[in-house]
Symmetry: C2
């Protein structure tokens, strides 16, 4: 597996070990990880810190020029919130672990000029499948269902 997707998956596993929602992300600028994060709904009672948002938050305030040279790696297809954030900051490329357990706003991202790559990684799928079968209500809460 790609080293950055691997780092995102490590974040997802950290979230799972904490009893949280196992979705992780890293923000990569010119080959260097500048932000790592995972979903914090359970851990911090947060409704905005999805994995992607947490990675961006942990990267801190960056000038637009930096975001425009970044790639966001995330274990799961980005929901409308996270996709909107990618569009807001002009992140040009997103690498997604899988979109089998949840299909996010990949079409919207592409329509706005974001390059979207889906790795279809079995480890990412298995982790989400396990979580969803264990805590379906928590998962539904996270995606507003």
């Amino acid at each position: 597996m790609d080293q950055y997707l691997q780092a995102a998956l490590e974040e997802a596993k950290k979230g799972y070990a904490e009893g949280g929602i196992p979705i992780g992300s890293v923000l990569v600028h010119q080959g260097r990880i500048i932000g790592r994060g995972h979903n914090k709904r359970v851990q911090e009672g947060s409704v905005v810190l999805h994995g992607e948002m947490d990675a961006l938050e942990n990267a801190g305030r960056q000038p637009a020029a930096v975001y425009r040279e970044c790639v966001l790696y995330t274990t799961l297809s980005p929901c409308p919130m996270c996709s909107g954030t990618i569009i807001l900051y002009g992140i040009p490329r997103v690498v997604i672990g899988e979109n089998r357990t949840f299909m996010g706003e990949e079409d919207l991202l592409r329509a706005r000029g974001v390059e979207v790559e889906v790795a279809d990684n079995p480890e990412c799928v298995q982790l989400m499948e396990r979580f969803i079968s264990e805590k379906p209500d928590l998962w539904n809460e996270d995606i507003g269902v």
Copy 2:
């Protein structure tokens, strides 16, 4: 002015007084404000806590059924991140103070079935115009420009 938009404007003014970006929001459930917030970029170094996000975060974890009965009041037209969040949680109605100083994703919201009302409130416009003329770089950072 509508009492809820007034409460959102009070949040925006609080942000301005703190040296921050003066955008405020309140989340209203069946006539009761369940979350208040304002942009926290400066105050908390946050890249995700726009006014709308902060109000949702302060409302805490809510079941989908609650979001579906909410109205979000915000002083400024919602950016892609905040619009995506409104779509994620299925908030059916958004009341916007103004969209003269920034036009957000109102078309996307409408396309996804969200009712969008623009109050075109002069106080909201003036506060943003003052802020943008005072701190144009900070404003550009907030909208990814």
